[in-house]
């Protein structure tokens, strides 16, 4: 989890080093606000002009490409990296009682790579898409 005011670069490092699909963003009181997927971090770090004209991505060498992405993230907060509020992802959340299918349905509907498990503002943890798939596949194995 990261806070809205945390450094965006630190959030990117957390996603990269722990190989997570994204992180849950919480407000000052620790309440979950939204999910920051790795794809959104990339979207923010890749310059808009390269997204407009993808052929420009090829004119950078690897070091130059990494530098330009880092430059866009440095000095930014997590809040700045998030999409504007009206376009922000709905918080994917289920209660601790939710079944595997409920989790899967919520993730599919919101197209999110992770989901927050929470009751009464208390966060129990996070379920990732890969972990959920692992549970589903293992559950079906004995009958296969």
């Amino acid at each position: 989890m990261v806070r809205l005011t945390d450094d965006a670069l630190a959030a990117a490092r957390l996603i990269a080093e722990q190989r997570r699909p994204g992180v849950v963003v919480v407000d000052g009181e620790g309440r979950p606000v939204t999910v920051l997927p790795g794809s959104q971090v990339l979207r923010f770090s890749v310059p808009g002009y390269v997204q407009e004209d993808p052929s420009l991505a090829r004119v950078y060498d690897e070091q130059g490409g990494a530098d330009v992405c880092l430059r866009n993230l440095s000095g930014r907060s997590v809040k700045e990296v998030l999409p504007p509020e009206e376009k922000r992802y709905e918080l994917p959340m289920v209660s601790g009682e939710a079944t595997v299918l409920e989790c899967a349905a919520t993730m599919a509907r919101l197209r999110t790579p992770l989901i927050v498990v929470s009751d009464d503002e208390e966060i129990h943890g996070v379920v990732t898409a890969s972990h959920l798939l692992e549970v589903i596949l293992n559950a079906s194995e004995p009958r296969a």
């Binding site: 808009g48 002009y49 407009e52 004209d53 090829r58 004119v59 950078y60």
Partner: protein
């Protein structure tokens, strides 16, 4: 005035106001106006679709379609990105030298391609080189879009108003080259010098960051070398066809369609990719406009306006040329120049005919083209390319306000008209 004349003027003015104020989409306004003209019997299907004088000008529609297909394919080659990065490197990262090269590339490209496409291609690479050098991209973008509007004035295919003028007047591609291109070259030279003063605060840079530009590899921007060669060969053939069209007795629209067909045939581009960049909305907008203006012709409104204007300036052709230049520039600064030129073309055609079609009378066409094309630089909404660049700048986090653009635009458009007036006077009156 007859009832049909009053009705046609009311429908036309209503649609024009909707287009100018953008209260409804311009295509809806033009099509709605055309539908009303047909429904009220102010024009008919035969006239609207088959009349050369009062119907849809299919030469304009198909010339635009052909060029849009060709441009859509060229866009996929990465040629512009290559040229712009190579120019920035050749300029050694020095901002003013870079700006000069970028505006010259933009102006030359705009003479052969449409202005909106040109700025769409040049803007992203401008952001890139400015980002590398830590420069504010806004002065570069404003200079480029103005260069695009100036460069587009030089040729028959450079700006949609010129296409309309060519079709209505019967003037050839070479006529535009001979009458407008020399002036545009001079204007570009003046513009480049003026940019040094206009954007003087934008040229401070950190020399240490030049290495970041020099590290860019322009060759990697070329996505498909074979397609690049094919596109350039076809473009060269099309331009040759335009130059020779009056000798070969082939309309420019046919040349453009043949070029588009040839390019799709010889390249591996799919039909879907080839037509992906066709602006169907623009083509439909043109059709609606032509039907509306055609109704004004059919009901005799255009004829009456032309006669009134001819009476007003009958003995003074120079006054007519200067008035048309200034009025066209002023109106094009605040409303879309395409409907303006579509409306004025039949009027100017009748004025030229009334004056016996002399070179002095024909200079009315050049006055209309220069006023309408160059007046678009005056404000942020004066030309489609201006609006597109403002949108791109906002999306990239460097918004350009209306007044930020306009304070430069008024200087450049004003200067352009101040230079165009003596050019028209010298060439068509004093030295004629």
């Amino acid at each position: 005035m007859t009832v049909s004349q009053v009705l046609s003027v009311v429908v036309f003015v209503g649609a024009y106001v909707l287009i100018a104020t953008e209260r409804v989409h311009r295509v809806a306004a033009a099509l709605g106006g055309a539908a009303l003209m047909l429904a009220l019997g102010l024009t008919d299907g035969e006239t609207a679709f088959h009349s050369l004088d009062a119907g849809v000008d299919w030469n304009v529609v198909f010339l635009l379609l052909g060029m849009m297909i060709i441009v859509g394919v060229i866009k996929q080659t990465g040629l512009f990105e290559y040229l712009a990065i190579a120019a920035a490197k050749r300029a050694g990262g020095r901002p003013y030298a870079m700006l000069v090269m970028l505006v010259v590339i933009t102006a030359v490209a705009s003479a052969a391609l449409d202005n909106v496409t040109t700025v769409l291609l040049i803007a992203p690479v401008t952001f890139l080189v400015c980002d590398r050098l830590g420069l504010n991209p806004i002065p570069f973008l404003i200079a480029e879009v103005m260069a695009s509007n100036i460069g587009g004035t030089a040729t028959l295919i450079g700006d949609p108003p010129n296409i309309i003028i060519a079709s209505r007047s019967g003037l050839s591609f070479n006529d535009f080259l001979v009458h407008l291109a020399p002036f545009v070259v001079v204007l570009m030279a003046v513009f480049v010098v003026v940019c040094r003063w206009l954007f003087r605060d934008a040229f401070r840079y950190d020399e240490k960051r030049v290495a970041e530009v020099m590290a860019l590899s322009e060759r990697e921007a070329i996505r498909d070398r074979t397609l690049l060669v094919q596109s350039l060969v076809v473009l060269a053939l099309v331009l040759t066809g335009f130059v020779l069209h009056s000798t070969l007795h082939v309309d420019p629209s046919v040349v453009a369609l043949l070029g588009a067909g040839l390019l799709v045939l010889v390249s591996k581009v799919t039909t879907e990719q080839a037509i992906a960049d066709v602006e169907w909305e623009t083509l439909v907008f043109f059709m609606g406009l032509f039907v509306m203006v055609g109704a004004l012709v059919k009901t005799g409104v255009i004829g009456e306006v032309s006669r009134a204007l001819a009476d007003a300036v009958g003995g003074e052709p120079l006054l007519a040329v200067m008035a048309l230049l200034v009025i066209s520039a002023l109106l094009s600064a605040i409303v879309d120049n395409i409907p303006y030129v579509a409306t004025m073309s039949p009027i100017v055609g009748e004025l030229v005919a009334a004056q016996g079609g002399t070179p002095q009378a024909e200079s009315l066409w050049w006055s209309l083209a220069l006023g309408a094309d160059l007046g678009g630089n005056a404000t942020a909404v004066g030309a489609s390319a201006n609006v597109v660049v403002l949108g791109l700048a906002a999306r990239n986090g460097t918004p350009i306000s209306f007044w930020q653009f306009t304070r430069y635009g008024i200087v450049v458009a004003g200067l352009s008209i101040l230079l165009a007036a003596p050019y028209l006077w010298l060439r068509y009156f004093l030295l004629a």
